[in-house]
Amino acid sequence: MIEIRDLYKYYGDRRAVGPLSATIEKGEIVGLLGLNGAGKTTTLRILACDLLPTSGTVRVGGLDVVDVPHEVRRRIGYLPDTPPVYLEMTVDEYLTFAAKLRGVTGADVEKRVDEALELTEVGSERDRPIGALSHGYRQRVGIAQAIVHKPEFVVLDEPISGLDPVQIVEMRDLVRSLGGEHTVVVSSHILSEIHETCDRIFVIRDGQIVASGTEKELSEALLSGMRVTLSLRVGQAGAARASQLIASVEGVTQVELAAETEGPGVASYRVALSRDTRDELTRAVVGAGFGLLELTRGERELESVFLELSKSSDEPARKKKKRKKPAAEPSAEEAS
């Protein structure tokens, strides 16, 4: 279990993180989501005992990162945003070095290196110098180095960034496979990269957690129902009338005329619903004589919420979060 209580980190006068409190259960895969500069890397570096916190307590497996950093380091594997690999070493040499550095001894070293190679699927490249490997493979070697000593906790800083689509899928599977045996913390600035991988997501902004939960919980708590896009044939002057009509439908909280349109006489609306009232909506517009051309559910809805949450301290996003939050059950721990 990882416990973070009132963590602050200042760089000079600038607050990078804090106040930040969170609890991560054993075997969980947790995503840390935030824009660049939100404090993700700083938080992870403190977890990995690379950096000391300014104040607050961080306990990894019950051990304090300030009091007994060596004990924590033995139990944690860390992949920084650039893999800490020596380009002139071969994969095998490097992993052997990393394992010994973390206190693996004797015959265990070879076994652990083999296991790490197998899990990260870089066995075929084990005798090549790391400098000759592609970015994707280097990233894998970086992960292999983080798990070679079988740590209870694995901390990965943006393991997916810069990978091609095939590699992203493979990397997701790899991270997924680490769960259970390891407690994993992954950071990313792109939601779609991690929402399928993680059991829970912390959205972080200005060094603070502004929302947390599973993807489903986050969207339920934060999205207030669903968003749909509606394309109607409204004729020359019907756009405003249709807009009024949509707004009058039960459950509609917001109607917005989209700028883009299929052609003359066609209007698109972005509609926010407090609950699923798509049936009523279609019946109403068709009944009023508008041609229903398209009704789609907003695909990137969580992404947009994330963006809203991540934007620099604009009040609406915060208010929204506070109002909706009681509905989200797992947020109890950060309220404490």
Partner: protein, 240 residues
């Protein structure tokens, strides 16, 4: 301790694979050879003087080699991000510094020992004592260790290798030049400055085959001081 050796071994392998170690050794041997030929073999000197002259020349290349060999030790790791690997492993900062130092000293010692053919030439063709050769080499190694420690400290402070070399030079050069400053000031201050100078009075006895405890203690102290400073620098970096 075993962790320090682990780092030293990895570092030695890195020296072997990068051209830096070979270039430094080749360059030092070339300069030593030219100096030996120019100073030692052209003038009319007795064997012992030739040998002293050789150690004098080699001391210069040893100091430069010390700075150059040490500049990459920590600065390069910081540049490539691999320092994080060491920082997040259960290993003390002092072990990192010690491991780095030991490896660079290994290369420097190899470089120094490869010059042995020159004293041997004098030994075979002239008349010098084995003691003179042994004491001279001890001096070179001690001076080299001190220069490496200074370079290693510079490497711990600097963000890049070039800056590390620059800082190392900026520390070492004044230490060398202290004896000139000492000449210009009155006693008793001149005595203090002279004994603090890294080369002049501390190295001269070694060069002439006289083993003085002062020099040994001086070089050991300088080495220890800068290695400690490098360790403390690494520790302090965790706060920011």
């Amino acid at each position: 301790m075993s962790q320090a050796l682990l780092i030293a071994r990895r570092e030695l392998a890195a020296y072997r694979r990068s051209p830096l170690g070979a270039i430094v050794i080749a360059g030092a041997l070339l300069i030593d050879g030219i100096y030996f030929y120019w100073k030692g073999l052209t003038d009319k000197l007795v064997s012992a003087q030739v040998l002293s002259e050789f150690f004098y020349g080699a001391s210069g290349t040893t100091m430069i080699a010390g700075i150059v060999l040490a500049m990459r030790l920590l600065a390069e790791e910081r540049q490539t991000g691999t320092l994080t690997l060491l920082n997040t492993s259960p290993i003390k900062d002092s072990e990192i510094v010690l491991g780095k130092f030991v490896s660079a000293f290994g290369v420097l010692a190899l470089m120094t020992l490869l010059t042995l053919y020159m004293p041997l030439l004098i030994f075979v063709n002239g008349k010098v004592s084995v003691g003179h050769i042994v004491v001279g080499y001890s001096g070179l190694l001690l001076l080299g260790a001190a220069s490496l420690a200074i370079g290693l400290f510079a490497s711990a402070v600097a963000k890049s290798q070039v800056v590390a070399a620059l800082i190392g030079t900026l520390i070492l050069a004044p230490l060398v030049l202290l004896w000139a400053v000492a000449k210009a000031v009155d006693p008793p201050l001149n005595r203090v400055l002279t004994s603090l100078a890294i080369h002049h009075e501390n190295f001269r006895p070694f060069m002439n085959g006289i083993l003085e405890l002062d020099g040994v203690v001086y070089y050991a102290a300088v080495t220890y001081f800068f290695l400690l400073a490098a360790t403390k620098t690494l520790e302090a970096r965790r706060w920011r």
